[in-house]
Symmetry: D2
Subunit: 405 residues, 4 copies
């Protein structure tokens, strides 16, 4: 008899019909011989709705009150799901974050978990019941209600799976898993059966939208096996786990792309120590989230520095660079929104030196110009024109054998 | 400096604009030199909405889960109102029923208050802040979240006013007070400046829709002066207080009517001991809410018994009476939905014997037939044809000088 | 048998219970022998909600699509209210603005009515039915659905009352009429039995929040008698009508105040032709809504100009004035948010010269300094410190005998 | 350049984020060189919500008013989606059912399409724009707004695809296609690449929940190729098309099950002409939806008749049978809710006589008793104990090679 933590996101419990369908599925999981602990998010977009309401009544939003407000969403969902389980004859108990033993710091609206003491959850399980825990909630060391932040239900689920020693933590969502590419761009994209924590972290960092990077990090840290799957089709999804050394590794597991960044280029910078440090410290001070950085080889003592930032940080970036231009001695600054990044991710890349070359050749054969390159041990990313992104993804997906047999 | 408890019902905080308007009014009350404790209901019809949601997910509704669900409504309202106060520079703290010290029995969904220990509310007040308490909530002696039932926010407000020794408990609603008659029926109806607990209890028992009878009972028990008033016009409303013996009492304070009852008549019943007892015990066993009862003088050893019941209890009443017919020896049973009751209420009636006579004469002059009569020390009620109700109210309102000077 | 147009605003039909209560009231009005035409707004805050949804999906909002979207709100309300009438046995028909014959220009989201041809409404009435018309809707000369703008339901109601020759147009809302002052500020404020179009226009221009100025203007233009009243208490409200020369006129009917404006003062302006014109043209070009203007007597060829603008226009006003400072030759510019305006309105003021003097004396006796003064034939307004507004209103309300006998 | 009709169901446009995601996908489809006509349902569960509102205000619901009410839902969705397309630079026009040329009969709330004249849709397409049509709407021959009933958006989409000669009608939903079995029961179930109209009709008749049987019937009648796919994962789904004789046919395409029926058995019925006719005519007169019927071989002139009905029709069925018992001369009636039906569907079954035998052997090997059997040319259904359903599905899915290679 396995212990499974099942976490249902907002869309999965978006309306009463869905709550009943989820309850039916939990009952089914138990009939198949498992013990189940459930974590549930607020229904649909209720968290957004509550935040919007707060914005409509006040511009100052004290954290203590915001957390009192927002946690009302999960309370509703957990009470309703528990009732739906009772209705099916499944004994169940709802627990707030506090009742489930999530102790946090006092950093309201984005609290950090400092301890998990799930005694009441364990008792409920031991009594043959299904504990239904409100996601993303805790109680602070100051005894106030706290919220773990957006996406915090994944943290609750992974944390409980770790604390209770669950076999797997299933994250139910509206997609059926992780794909080898975005199916809108590469229609032959395949759902992946499994992916390692490291690969998935690289993928989410490079544009793969789900699951949230934060929950993958938690799962890696706590060594909790995830199963990302659909609460609509209920088909098996993608397993996320520690890399198994005996397992044959795909050289390239996925092609990921991202068109949400812009490129900034500072030209004619004197090539001397401290220039880059000065620039990127100033950007960091403005909370600009710099991603890729490339510095050209120096010619005649001057060089060019290019970097990418999210579109929404572009204005702040230009302010920073403009204000530094006299000091940096730069000749010109250019900003370019019309770029995209295409990345290959694969754990097997480490031991296969030719991947980068094949990537560049493939893009060249399509007549696509590469503007920036960056790599990690298991990822290669190229910046190209945004208009070339779809063709790049399709060509690479084909070239690396991901289009399927 | 007076201490005022202000309770805002659902309509009063029905949307963000209203929440801000209420916060502005609270700030204004403080500027006028008062200390304020606020009690707030769930926004608009949210409680109904939550109960509806529960009905959509389950037919079995465990009380513990229902209370967890429903109390989410007041949490939202109290957190939002507290934020709106902060926004106006008014320091404020939200408190759940548990935090405000409402200890209840374990009778979920309709818990009874067993103790009020508002230490945190007092501390907040002492610190110059505005405590904002979620209405209708408590914590059971078993440490579970409880709900005090529909209209329970009035209980919370009256209870706090009593426990804290407040000067007045203001109940803000969508009407501007208590009227001498329903203005839809008697267009010259006046808003009453004041009414005694006893009068208002009689009025609510005879068809006056607001405030709820239960909250008037609590206020009388705890001797808490109420001020029923509007959160839309903000004009002074109606004071509800202990009768002041020195005060001149209106002979007739109000004309109240009710068309929600039906009349049942059992004819040809043998006039012997125990018959009525047998009948009304059987009705009580079916939870039929019998209101007026009239038994005719016996003729030749048989009599007729008439009584009124709410429309929704009429079918059950007929079942009961039909099943007893052989045993009662009755000849026939008639049910009549097309009746109405018109009542005069006034504390001065006790010392003015002619009121009943004037009432009967007034109705007679209008050609209106009286079918049943019942009285209390401060009330006279007549059952007439439903079609005659509007004319009855208008004639009585005029006859007793309530149409105004 | 009178023809009455009854218009119910959003709050009046804010939820299903309210829709049924309104239907009951319409049925009652018919039973009292009237013919009724109903105009209904979208339920509660639905129009706001729809506009918000549009803002969440798009920044460009084509007018044609916005009107298609927003008019969905009144469709719901009118269909539901018509069903509720059927349920009470009252025959009724819902009509869109187009079906009711409102022809508009093509100015989407804020269309102007160019003709009203209510043939279908008249037929429905002639057949003994209740027409229920969606407020604020029309069809453009280009055959597209149009919306008459916020508050447009009043226009629909007044327009129908005019076109059908109704005796009165009743505007049902959440307040019970027009008051002699804001009851939050002057607790002894009285509801006015009647007010003339001219007085009410001055009042709405000076801070009285309801009804909307636009609908009073329409009613005056079309000579439609209004009755502003409450759909919650149903008591008689305030009649708005043409001034009756035979009627004795109150010298002062109401005290109105407004704290939503700021004062801008430009000092040291050369006193020569065209300076003021230059300044106020520039403000108008920026859509700044200037209200009061005062220019001091010139001393040594220079003068000061003060004017008031809504708080939200203050920044734009400063920009305009700052940019003109060299040209105007002004010495300094001051902006002051902490002001308020208190106004007396009364049709009898025209023939009573001492009102202004009494007003100034009353404020002086309270030690309140007057910073600006402006007058019309039936209104006197003074700008004072915002902190003095409540005391000003209270003192004037008392001084002019409005506190009641 | 292909013409594609894309229909998005309620979940696909359930909130503003989803509306924008759908608009982005439509823009992408155009960029890939297609012409697109969009059909959109009301957002999320809005249709249910509107029907619920109607139920809260009235018990009588005139069809004309219901259709005025319900069609408000699609108006909102189509206007919002059109705005979102404009926001992406895609020219688009919203059209009501009436504007799109759907002429219906006058059968309100469930109108039948009598003609489609999509002139305005064609003009919009010809102008290089995207027509966005409100689903399930029309205008009656009496010029009133009509609603095509639940699931009517599929009818709108299939009808437009037929009338405009589209290459394919894509039905976007929250599942990613049609599966060889329910993945909750058979975890190795595969998404089908394609299925014929006939097979899918049999499957939907036997418990496969999506797409609705009605839309498959329309598509077969009008010979419109469907593509059932996900608006969440956007991966290719299942094609539904005319059977291609050259195509190799799977003997068994899918295993479908259904636990929503009950079995009624009438025993000891005299075996003479007209008995069955009498019984099933009486059931039909009560609108009981009889599915499978089995009559045993007669023994000694008496026989047994068993049939299945949906759970919700069981009570009516018993009433009917009980009232006929004397007339039928039956000995006893039994009702059994604890049954389930498992069905094999496959176009290749026609030419493969051994399928039934294999099915029976497979169930026998599992120790599962068959209680009733019925067949069509391309389907075999067996009634078994409800508790055996999951094992039956799993065993058959494996036995017929659907578990995959």
């Amino acid at each position: 008899m396995a212990l499974v933590v099942q976490k249902f996101g907002g869309t999965s419990v978006g309306d009463p019909d869905r709550v009943r369908e989820v309850a039916d599925y939990i009952a089914r999981t138990r009939r198949h011989g498992n013990e189940v602990v459930v974590v549930v998010s607020a229904m649909g977009k209720e968290t957004d709705e509550l935040i919007r309401l707060a914005g409509q009544v006040a511009t100052t939003r004290p954290g203590r009150e915001m957390d009192m407000l927002i946690t009302a969403g999960e309370r509703k969902a957990m009470a309703l799901l528990t009732m739906a389980l009772h209705d099916l004859g499944v004994p169940a108990d709802s627990f707030t974050g506090s009742q489930a033993g999530f102790i946090t710091d006092t950093n309201h609206t984005n609290a950090k978990v400092v301890a998990i003491r799930p005694a009441r959850v364990s008792e409920s399980l031991a009594a043959g019941r299904v504990p239904v825990v409100g996601g993303s909630q805790g109680v602070s060391t100051g005894r106030d209600v706290t919220f773990l932040g957006r996406g915090g239900s994944d943290i609750t689920a992974v944390g409980l799976a770790h604390a209770l020693g669950a076999e797997v933590c299933e994250l139910y969502t509206d997609v059926s898993g992780v794909y080898t590419a975005d199916p809108r761009v590469a229609p032959l994209a395949q759902k992946m059966k499994a992916v390692s924590f490291d690969e998935l972290l690289e993928m989410t960092a490079c544009g793969c939208p789900k699951p949230a990077m934060r929950s993958v990090e938690f799962a890696r840290t706590w060594q909790v096996t995830l199963h990302v799957r659909s609460a609509f089709t209920w088909e098996p999804g993608t397993w996320v786990m520690k890399e198994d050394p005996s397992m044959e590794q795909a050289i390239v597991s996925a092609v990921v792309h991202d068109t949400s960044e812009a490129k900034v280029t500072v030209t004619g910078v004197p090539d001397k120590p401290g220039i880059a440090a000065r620039l990127f410290r100033a950007l960091a001070d403005r909370d600009v989230n710099v991603d890729m950085i490339v510095q050209n080889v120096s010619v005649h003592g001057v060089t060019d520095i290019s970097f990418t930032v999210p579109h929404e940080d572009l204005d702040a970036s230009r302010d920073v660079v403009d204000s530094l231009t006299p000091e940096l001695g730069a000749i010109a600054v250019e900003a370019d929104r019309d770029i995209g990044r295409v990345s290959l991710v694969g754990a097997g890349m480490k031991s296969n030196p030719g991947v980068a070359a094949t990537m560049f050749e493939t893009l060249a054969a399509e007549g696509i110009n590469i503007e920036m390159i960056s790599t990690s041990a298991i990822r290669i990313s190229c910046v190209v024109r945004e208009a070339d992104i779809e063709r790049s993804v399709q060509a690479l997906h084909r070239a690396f054998g991901l289009d399927g047999p």
